[in-house]
Symmetry: C2
Subunit: 157 residues, 2 copies
DNA sequence: TCTTGACCTCAAGTCGACTTTAGGTTGTAC
DNA sequence: GTACAACCTAAAGTCGACTTGAGGTCAAGA
Protein backbone atom coordinates (compact mmCIF):
# COMPACT_ATOMS: atom_id res chain seq x y z
CA UNK A 1 0.00 0.00 0.00
CA UNK A 2 1.21 3.48 -0.69
CA UNK A 3 0.56 6.35 1.65
CA UNK A 4 -2.57 7.50 -0.14
CA UNK A 5 -4.11 4.07 0.18
CA UNK A 6 -3.38 3.94 3.88
CA UNK A 7 -4.80 7.42 4.28
CA UNK A 8 -7.97 6.46 2.48
CA UNK A 9 -8.47 3.25 4.40
CA UNK A 10 -7.62 4.59 7.83
CA UNK A 11 -8.95 8.10 7.54
CA UNK A 12 -5.62 9.40 8.78
CA UNK A 13 -4.20 12.13 6.52
CA UNK A 14 -0.96 11.42 4.72
CA UNK A 15 0.72 14.29 6.50
CA UNK A 16 -0.19 12.71 9.81
CA UNK A 17 1.16 9.36 8.69
CA UNK A 18 4.51 10.96 7.87
CA UNK A 19 4.40 12.72 11.18
CA UNK A 20 3.70 9.46 13.01
CA UNK A 21 6.55 7.78 11.23
CA UNK A 22 8.88 10.57 12.21
CA UNK A 23 7.75 10.16 15.81
CA UNK A 24 8.40 6.44 15.66
CA UNK A 25 4.79 5.40 16.00
CA UNK A 26 4.61 3.60 12.70
CA UNK A 27 7.05 2.26 10.15
CA UNK A 28 6.88 1.65 6.46
CA UNK A 29 8.10 -1.73 5.26
CA UNK A 30 10.25 -0.04 2.64
CA UNK A 31 10.36 2.33 -0.27
CA UNK A 32 9.70 2.29 -3.95
CA UNK A 33 11.95 5.03 -5.11
CA UNK A 34 11.16 7.77 -2.64
CA UNK A 35 7.69 6.54 -1.87
CA UNK A 36 6.83 4.74 1.33
CA UNK A 37 5.31 1.31 1.13
CA UNK A 38 3.21 0.11 4.04
CA UNK A 39 2.25 -3.40 5.07
CA UNK A 40 -1.31 -4.45 5.80
CA UNK A 41 -0.84 -4.43 9.56
CA UNK A 42 -0.41 -0.67 9.47
CA UNK A 43 -4.17 -0.32 9.71
CA UNK A 44 -4.31 -2.31 12.92
CA UNK A 45 -1.51 -0.23 14.26
CA UNK A 46 -3.27 2.98 13.41
CA UNK A 47 -6.41 1.72 15.09
CA UNK A 48 -4.34 1.04 18.16
CA UNK A 49 -2.99 4.56 18.06
CA UNK A 50 -6.48 5.97 17.64
CA UNK A 51 -7.53 3.96 20.65
CA UNK A 52 -4.75 5.34 22.75
CA UNK A 53 -5.47 8.89 21.64
CA UNK A 54 -9.14 8.45 22.44
CA UNK A 55 -8.18 7.28 25.90
CA UNK A 56 -6.07 10.37 26.38
CA UNK A 57 -2.67 8.78 25.99
CA UNK A 58 -0.06 11.10 24.53
CA UNK A 59 1.78 10.17 21.36
CA UNK A 60 5.01 9.81 23.27
CA UNK A 61 3.42 7.40 25.69
CA UNK A 62 1.87 5.46 22.86
CA UNK A 63 5.26 5.24 21.20
CA UNK A 64 6.66 3.75 24.37
CA UNK A 65 3.83 1.28 24.66
CA UNK A 66 3.79 -0.01 21.14
CA UNK A 67 7.44 0.44 20.24
CA UNK A 68 8.43 1.53 16.80
CA UNK A 69 8.66 -1.86 15.23
CA UNK A 70 7.44 -5.38 15.99
CA UNK A 71 4.01 -6.18 17.29
CA UNK A 72 2.61 -4.00 20.00
CA UNK A 73 3.55 -5.29 23.39
CA UNK A 74 1.26 -3.42 25.63
CA UNK A 75 1.89 -3.32 29.31
CA UNK A 76 -1.15 -4.60 31.19
CA UNK A 77 -0.37 -2.57 34.24
CA UNK A 78 -0.31 0.55 32.16
CA UNK A 79 -3.65 -0.40 30.67
CA UNK A 80 -5.17 -0.83 34.09
CA UNK A 81 -3.72 2.46 35.22
CA UNK A 82 -5.10 4.26 32.20
CA UNK A 83 -8.47 2.63 32.81
CA UNK A 84 -8.45 3.90 36.38
CA UNK A 85 -7.52 7.40 35.28
CA UNK A 86 -10.31 7.30 32.77
CA UNK A 87 -12.67 6.20 35.49
CA UNK A 88 -11.85 9.07 37.79
CA UNK A 89 -12.31 11.48 34.92
CA UNK A 90 -15.66 9.93 34.21
CA UNK A 91 -16.72 10.42 37.82
CA UNK A 92 -15.80 14.08 37.70
CA UNK A 93 -17.52 14.66 34.43
CA UNK A 94 -20.65 12.97 35.72
CA UNK A 95 -20.69 15.32 38.70
CA UNK A 96 -20.31 18.23 36.31
CA UNK A 97 -23.02 16.96 34.04
CA UNK A 98 -25.50 16.55 36.86
CA UNK A 99 -24.69 19.98 38.20
CA UNK A 100 -25.15 21.60 34.84
CA UNK A 101 -28.32 19.69 34.22
CA UNK A 102 -29.75 20.88 37.47
CA UNK A 103 -28.71 24.44 36.85
CA UNK A 104 -30.46 24.34 33.52
CA UNK A 105 -33.84 23.63 35.08
CA UNK A 106 -33.34 25.24 38.46
CA UNK A 107 -36.13 27.57 39.58
CA UNK A 108 -33.82 30.03 41.29
CA UNK A 109 -34.02 33.42 39.54
CA UNK A 110 -30.26 33.58 39.16
CA UNK A 111 -27.91 30.63 39.21
CA UNK A 112 -25.95 32.36 41.89
CA UNK A 113 -28.92 32.05 44.22
CA UNK A 114 -29.27 28.33 43.76
CA UNK A 115 -27.57 26.37 46.54
CA UNK A 116 -26.87 23.41 44.28
CA UNK A 117 -25.22 25.59 41.71
CA UNK A 118 -23.15 27.28 44.34
CA UNK A 119 -22.08 23.91 45.61
CA UNK A 120 -21.04 22.94 42.09
CA UNK A 121 -19.11 26.17 41.90
CA UNK A 122 -17.40 25.28 45.14
CA UNK A 123 -16.48 21.90 43.72
CA UNK A 124 -15.02 23.41 40.60
CA UNK A 125 -13.13 26.03 42.55
CA UNK A 126 -11.72 23.56 45.03
CA UNK A 127 -10.23 21.51 42.27
CA UNK A 128 -12.43 18.54 43.08
CA UNK A 129 -13.49 18.63 39.50
CA UNK A 130 -10.85 20.23 37.43
CA UNK A 131 -8.36 17.59 36.45
CA UNK A 132 -5.36 17.52 38.67
CA UNK A 133 -2.19 15.48 38.47
CA UNK A 134 -1.80 13.20 35.50
CA UNK A 135 -5.29 13.15 34.22
CA UNK A 136 -6.04 12.51 30.63
CA UNK A 137 -8.01 15.49 29.56
CA UNK A 138 -5.12 17.42 28.08
CA UNK A 139 -6.80 20.71 28.82
CA UNK A 140 -4.85 22.42 31.57
CA UNK A 141 -1.40 21.08 31.25
CA UNK A 142 -0.18 23.67 33.74
CA UNK A 143 3.11 23.66 35.57
CA UNK A 144 5.99 23.87 33.15
CA UNK A 145 8.58 24.77 35.68
CA UNK A 146 7.20 26.44 38.70
CA UNK A 147 4.05 24.85 39.98
CA UNK A 148 5.27 24.94 43.53
CA UNK A 149 2.75 27.28 45.02
CA UNK A 150 -0.32 28.70 43.42
CA UNK A 151 0.04 32.25 44.60
CA UNK A 152 3.20 34.15 45.32
CA UNK A 153 4.60 35.53 42.12
CA UNK A 154 7.52 37.32 43.62
CA UNK A 155 10.24 39.10 41.73
CA UNK A 156 7.51 38.70 39.18
CA UNK A 157 8.58 35.28 37.95
CA UNK B 1 -8.16 42.93 47.47
CA UNK B 2 -5.04 43.28 45.45
CA UNK B 3 -4.05 40.76 42.82
CA UNK B 4 -1.86 38.74 45.17
CA UNK B 5 -4.72 38.31 47.59
CA UNK B 6 -7.03 37.11 44.86
CA UNK B 7 -4.36 34.76 43.63
CA UNK B 8 -3.87 33.31 47.07
CA UNK B 9 -7.56 32.89 47.76
CA UNK B 10 -8.55 31.53 44.39
CA UNK B 11 -5.45 29.56 43.55
CA UNK B 12 -5.35 31.29 40.18
CA UNK B 13 -1.92 32.77 39.44
CA UNK B 14 -1.64 36.53 39.11
CA UNK B 15 -0.47 36.19 35.53
CA UNK B 16 -3.63 34.27 34.72
CA UNK B 17 -5.76 36.91 36.40
CA UNK B 18 -4.20 39.59 34.21
CA UNK B 19 -4.72 37.35 31.22
CA UNK B 20 -8.39 36.82 32.11
CA UNK B 21 -8.88 40.53 32.52
CA UNK B 22 -7.37 41.15 29.12
CA UNK B 23 -9.72 38.57 27.67
CA UNK B 24 -12.67 40.25 29.30
CA UNK B 25 -13.49 37.43 31.67
CA UNK B 26 -13.01 39.43 34.82
CA UNK B 27 -12.77 43.08 35.75
CA UNK B 28 -11.09 44.93 38.56
CA UNK B 29 -13.18 47.51 40.38
CA UNK B 30 -10.43 50.07 39.98
CA UNK B 31 -6.82 50.90 40.56
CA UNK B 32 -4.66 52.18 43.37
CA UNK B 33 -1.88 53.77 41.48
CA UNK B 34 -1.06 51.14 38.92
CA UNK B 35 -2.31 48.26 40.98
CA UNK B 36 -5.56 46.52 40.33
CA UNK B 37 -8.13 46.35 43.05
CA UNK B 38 -10.67 43.56 42.98
CA UNK B 39 -14.03 43.29 44.66
CA UNK B 40 -15.08 40.31 46.75
CA UNK B 41 -17.30 38.84 44.06
CA UNK B 42 -14.25 38.14 41.94
CA UNK B 43 -13.86 34.83 43.73
CA UNK B 44 -17.32 33.71 42.77
CA UNK B 45 -16.61 34.76 39.24
CA UNK B 46 -13.40 32.79 39.14
CA UNK B 47 -15.20 29.76 40.49
CA UNK B 48 -17.67 30.14 37.69
CA UNK B 49 -14.87 30.28 35.18
CA UNK B 50 -13.26 27.20 36.72
CA UNK B 51 -16.58 25.45 36.41
CA UNK B 52 -16.86 26.30 32.77
CA UNK B 53 -13.31 25.21 32.06
CA UNK B 54 -13.90 21.93 33.86
CA UNK B 55 -16.94 21.37 31.69
CA UNK B 56 -14.84 21.95 28.60
CA UNK B 57 -16.11 25.40 27.72
CA UNK B 58 -13.54 27.58 25.99
CA UNK B 59 -12.57 30.92 27.47
CA UNK B 60 -14.18 32.74 24.59
CA UNK B 61 -17.45 30.93 25.16
CA UNK B 62 -17.26 31.63 28.87
CA UNK B 63 -16.68 35.28 28.12
CA UNK B 64 -19.84 35.30 26.04
CA UNK B 65 -21.81 33.56 28.72
CA UNK B 66 -20.80 35.64 31.68
CA UNK B 67 -20.12 38.93 29.92
CA UNK B 68 -17.30 41.11 31.06
CA UNK B 69 -19.22 43.05 33.64
CA UNK B 70 -22.46 42.66 35.53
CA UNK B 71 -23.62 39.45 37.12
CA UNK B 72 -23.34 36.31 35.08
CA UNK B 73 -26.43 35.73 33.06
CA UNK B 74 -26.07 32.19 31.99
CA UNK B 75 -28.20 30.83 29.24
CA UNK B 76 -30.11 27.77 30.43
CA UNK B 77 -30.25 26.28 26.98
CA UNK B 78 -26.53 26.50 26.71
CA UNK B 79 -26.19 24.80 30.07
CA UNK B 80 -28.40 21.96 28.95
CA UNK B 81 -26.47 21.64 25.72
CA UNK B 82 -23.16 21.52 27.55
CA UNK B 83 -24.60 18.93 29.92
CA UNK B 84 -25.60 16.79 26.97
CA UNK B 85 -22.20 17.11 25.38
CA UNK B 86 -20.64 16.14 28.64
CA UNK B 87 -22.93 13.16 28.80
CA UNK B 88 -21.95 11.85 25.40
CA UNK B 89 -18.32 12.25 26.29
CA UNK B 90 -18.91 10.31 29.45
CA UNK B 91 -20.51 7.49 27.48
CA UNK B 92 -17.52 7.27 25.18
CA UNK B 93 -15.05 7.34 27.98
CA UNK B 94 -16.94 4.62 29.79
CA UNK B 95 -16.74 2.43 26.73
CA UNK B 96 -13.03 3.10 26.57
CA UNK B 97 -12.55 2.41 30.23
CA UNK B 98 -14.32 -0.93 30.04
CA UNK B 99 -12.35 -1.91 26.98
CA UNK B 100 -9.06 -1.05 28.60
CA UNK B 101 -10.05 -2.77 31.78
CA UNK B 102 -10.84 -5.92 29.91
CA UNK B 103 -7.66 -5.78 27.91
CA UNK B 104 -5.70 -5.47 31.12
CA UNK B 105 -6.93 -8.80 32.42
CA UNK B 106 -7.60 -10.57 29.16
CA UNK B 107 -6.16 -14.05 28.89
CA UNK B 108 -5.29 -13.78 25.21
CA UNK B 109 -1.51 -14.00 24.78
CA UNK B 110 -1.43 -10.82 22.76
CA UNK B 111 -4.05 -8.10 22.83
CA UNK B 112 -4.30 -8.41 19.13
CA UNK B 113 -5.69 -11.88 19.50
CA UNK B 114 -8.44 -10.87 21.87
CA UNK B 115 -11.76 -10.35 20.09
CA UNK B 116 -12.94 -7.81 22.62
CA UNK B 117 -9.81 -5.76 22.22
CA UNK B 118 -10.09 -5.92 18.48
CA UNK B 119 -13.65 -4.76 18.71
CA UNK B 120 -12.54 -1.84 20.83
CA UNK B 121 -9.92 -1.10 18.23
CA UNK B 122 -12.61 -1.12 15.60
CA UNK B 123 -14.63 1.34 17.65
CA UNK B 124 -11.72 3.68 18.07
CA UNK B 125 -10.81 3.47 14.41
CA UNK B 126 -14.36 4.05 13.24
CA UNK B 127 -14.58 7.27 15.16
CA UNK B 128 -17.31 5.95 17.43
CA UNK B 129 -15.09 6.90 20.29
CA UNK B 130 -12.78 9.63 19.26
CA UNK B 131 -14.52 12.92 19.74
CA UNK B 132 -16.17 14.19 16.63
CA UNK B 133 -17.97 17.42 15.93
CA UNK B 134 -18.19 19.89 18.77
CA UNK B 135 -17.16 17.75 21.64
CA UNK B 136 -15.55 19.18 24.67
CA UNK B 137 -12.32 17.30 24.94
CA UNK B 138 -10.13 19.82 23.19
CA UNK B 139 -7.77 17.13 21.98
CA UNK B 140 -8.10 16.80 18.24
CA UNK B 141 -9.15 20.12 17.02
CA UNK B 142 -8.47 19.09 13.43
CA UNK B 143 -9.61 20.76 10.28
CA UNK B 144 -8.40 24.32 10.05
CA UNK B 145 -9.24 24.83 6.45
CA UNK B 146 -9.47 21.69 4.47
CA UNK B 147 -11.31 18.95 6.29
CA UNK B 148 -13.29 18.07 3.24
CA UNK B 149 -12.03 14.59 2.63
CA UNK B 150 -9.78 12.55 4.81
CA UNK B 151 -7.56 11.13 2.11
CA UNK B 152 -6.60 12.72 -1.11
CA UNK B 153 -3.80 15.13 -0.51
CA UNK B 154 -3.37 16.11 -4.10
CA UNK B 155 -1.07 18.78 -5.41
CA UNK B 156 0.17 18.03 -1.96
CA UNK B 157 -2.01 20.53 -0.16
C1' DT C 1 16.59 59.41 50.96
C1' DC C 2 17.13 55.29 49.16
C1' DT C 3 16.17 50.60 48.54
C1' DT C 4 13.32 46.99 47.65
C1' DG C 5 9.61 44.12 46.63
C1' DA C 6 5.22 43.78 44.71
C1' DC C 7 2.99 45.36 41.16
C1' DC C 8 2.62 47.00 36.10
C1' DT C 9 2.76 46.42 30.50
C1' DC C 10 3.78 44.42 26.25
C1' DA C 11 5.93 40.96 23.64
C1' DA C 12 7.44 36.59 23.03
C1' DG C 13 7.77 31.78 24.40
C1' DT C 14 5.66 27.04 25.58
C1' DC C 15 3.14 22.72 24.94
C1' DG C 16 1.22 18.78 21.92
C1' DA C 17 -0.44 17.26 17.72
C1' DC C 18 -0.70 18.22 13.62
C1' DT C 19 -1.05 21.10 9.13
C1' DT C 20 0.76 23.96 5.65
C1' DT C 21 4.18 25.74 2.64
C1' DA C 22 8.04 25.71 -0.39
C1' DG C 23 10.68 23.52 -3.26
C1' DG C 24 12.29 19.12 -5.12
C1' DT C 25 11.79 14.07 -7.21
C1' DT C 26 9.44 10.31 -9.73
C1' DG C 27 6.28 6.54 -11.41
C1' DT C 28 2.97 6.27 -14.83
C1' DA C 29 -0.14 7.47 -18.41
C1' DC C 30 -0.15 9.43 -22.88
C1' DG D 1 9.94 11.00 -24.01
C1' DT D 2 7.59 14.12 -21.73
C1' DA D 3 4.02 15.89 -18.76
C1' DC D 4 2.18 15.87 -14.34
C1' DA D 5 -0.17 14.08 -10.43
C1' DA D 6 1.37 12.21 -6.45
C1' DC D 7 4.86 11.53 -3.74
C1' DC D 8 9.08 13.42 -0.93
C1' DT D 9 11.74 16.52 2.87
C1' DA D 10 12.52 20.23 6.03
C1' DA D 11 10.92 24.03 8.15
C1' DA D 12 7.56 26.97 9.75
C1' DG D 13 2.81 27.90 11.12
C1' DT D 14 -1.61 26.99 13.94
C1' DC D 15 -4.57 26.53 17.96
C1' DG D 16 -5.87 27.69 23.00
C1' DA D 17 -4.52 28.87 27.41
C1' DC D 18 -1.35 30.45 29.69
C1' DT D 19 3.63 31.55 31.31
C1' DT D 20 7.90 33.96 31.10
C1' DG D 21 10.93 37.81 30.29
C1' DA D 22 12.45 42.42 29.90
C1' DG D 23 12.06 46.69 31.45
C1' DG D 24 9.44 50.09 34.15
C1' DT D 25 6.54 52.33 38.27
C1' DC D 26 5.53 53.13 42.97
C1' DA D 27 4.55 52.94 48.10
C1' DA D 28 6.42 51.75 52.34
C1' DG D 29 10.04 50.61 55.52
C1' DA D 30 15.18 51.24 57.13
Amino acid sequence: MDIAEVAKRSGVPASTLRFYEEKGLIKSVGRQGLRRVFGANILERLALIALGRAAGVSLDEIAQMVGANGSPNIDRELLAKKADELDSTVQKLIAMRDGLRHAAVCFAPSHMECPKFRRLLGLAASGAIKSEGSDQLPKRRRSYKRCTGQAGERGDM
